[in-house]
Subunit: 290 residues, 2 copies
């Protein structure tokens, strides 16, 4: 099964989330049965990220959106936490600061765009400005309705500069959300994270669903596609996201850049230095570095 | 053995790097013998970082400095790559950009200081401005000589705001550096990283040593100590750094913050939602989330 095809929102199509099974798990019986595949993609992801970093030509932007308890934090930890931290940064977008709110809604987002060679992971994003903003009438409809086009133009500019954009909607069911709220209540070490809004926002489930559907339908483009990831099973969500990232990066056919120096000349310099360090031969010291 | 004591540069003392064995490995015969301890500290580090993040009151700044091939990248990968990426960022400081160079030397550093709840890891830092700058006479002596005090004042301000600062000098021998250069030459996948300066800077080894000794001696303070980490053995370096970070964080006696909400009231809301979701009882859905 081609995950890039399977989970991508086809540009121009109309998304109906209730037609997409959040409990889908492909051919895998359970987590244990998928462990080998998860491990393989996790490892390959790390290799490809290192190539992206070494190549220093392109960048990758991963956007995560979901309902509350949809698994954004978990996805970041399990899938993306495996990357080299020197080449990856996570950005969370919460209520805008006074300075951020004094600018257009894309201003703070643009500042967090990944430079060449780097991966940026957005935990929430500019899409909040057509989600929470719309559901709670924070701006008039004519303002948020224009944003889909502004977002597409903005993302188009990033892509034109060599940024590859992957957008994941982590799709859970309403009953699964409730089960996860219960798990938080059952674990005292997680009580500090519980907020009033968990339950109050749940009352807007249908409004959010509609807002997500419109964002996915209007902003899944050839250059910056949305993927709807079945996320009731955390392990399948992790597998699907890392597989899509891997397959996207594989398609770039990246290679290590050529040496910046003449390796033959540097080798000669090494031998000169080694001869100086140990005139009696070999450059062997007594302290191994393993 | 108390690593915080053992490797700390005592404030006011004069550091002589040639008196410190870069191949020290404590009681451990080799890497294999230390694996359990490494694993234990790595795991504990992750737990403590999560507490720092949850507590959201203090921050941690880790500064890494070393000779070329001293192991800064390796330390970041193996020790700090295990942290939750949402609570940790790595900053590399290379040759200043035009905008950075138009400001004082601490300006770009200050922007990367970790906010509450976060860890920042500096791969090189403001100390370059008393190292490479001094060795290559990029500014007059009277300029760099004043910087030790400016650095202490700057770090003091961060500490006053709740940032804990740990500074690690990764100490390798000159022969170990050469051995690592050889490993790079032997591995084609690493040729892209080799630069002319590897060998040209090596000629300034003694000058760098003196510059490091002065930085360590002048800027190891009670509030922001330097640690000299024996780093010829990569595994021991990783162990020592994670142990010192763990022991520093343990001393903060952090606890999860109290809930922001009334857990009893939220539990009642959960039961109301569960009853609504499944009126026939129990709130059980058919899709598990494991």
């Amino acid at each position: 099964m081609n995950y890039l095809e399977k989970f991508r929102v086809k540009p121009g199509s109309i998304v109906r989330l209730d037609k997409i099974d959040p409990s889908f798990k492909d051919k895998h019986e359970d987590h244990a049965a998928a462990l080998d595949e998860i491990e393989r993609y996790t490892k390959r992801l790390r290799e490809l990220q290192y190539l992206l970093y070494a190549e220093d030509r392109r960048s990758l932007l991963i956007i995560l959106q979901a309902m509350d308890a949809g698994g954004k934090d978990g996805t970041i930890n399990h899938v993306l936490g495996n990357m080299n931290p020197q080449g990856a940064r996570v950005y969370g977008f919460k209520v805008p600061s006074a300075e951020e709110a004094a600018h257009d809604f894309l201003w703070r987002i643009h500042q967090a765009a990944p430079p060449r060679g780097q991966v940026a992971i957005f935990n929430r994003s500019h899409y909040e400005d057509v989600l929470v903003t719309r559901v709670h009438d924070l701006v008039p409809k004519k303002v948020w309705a224009r944003r889909y086009e502004l977002i597409n133009d903005f993302e188009n500019n990033l892509v034109a500069n060599g940024t590859h954009i992957l957008k994941f909607y982590l799709h859970i069911g309403k009953d699964e959300q409730l089960r996860r709220f219960k798990q938080r209540l059952d674990d005292p070490a997680r009580h500090w994270k519980i907020s009033e809004s968990d339950y109050s926002e749940r009352e807007y489930w249908d409004d959010y669903t509609r807002a997500f559907e419109d964002a996915l339908s209007n902003c899944s483009t050839d250059q910056a596609p949305w993927y709807v990831i079945p996320a009731n099973h955390k392990w399948f969500r992790n597998l699907a996201v890392s597989r899509i990232v891997v397959e996207t990066l594989e398609a770039l056919r990246m290679e290590f850049p050529p040496p910046k120096v003449d390796i033959g000349e540097i080798t000669a310099r090494y031998h000169a230095a080694a001869a100086e360090a140990a005139p009696t031969g070999g450059g062997k010291g007594k302290n191994g570095s393993r």
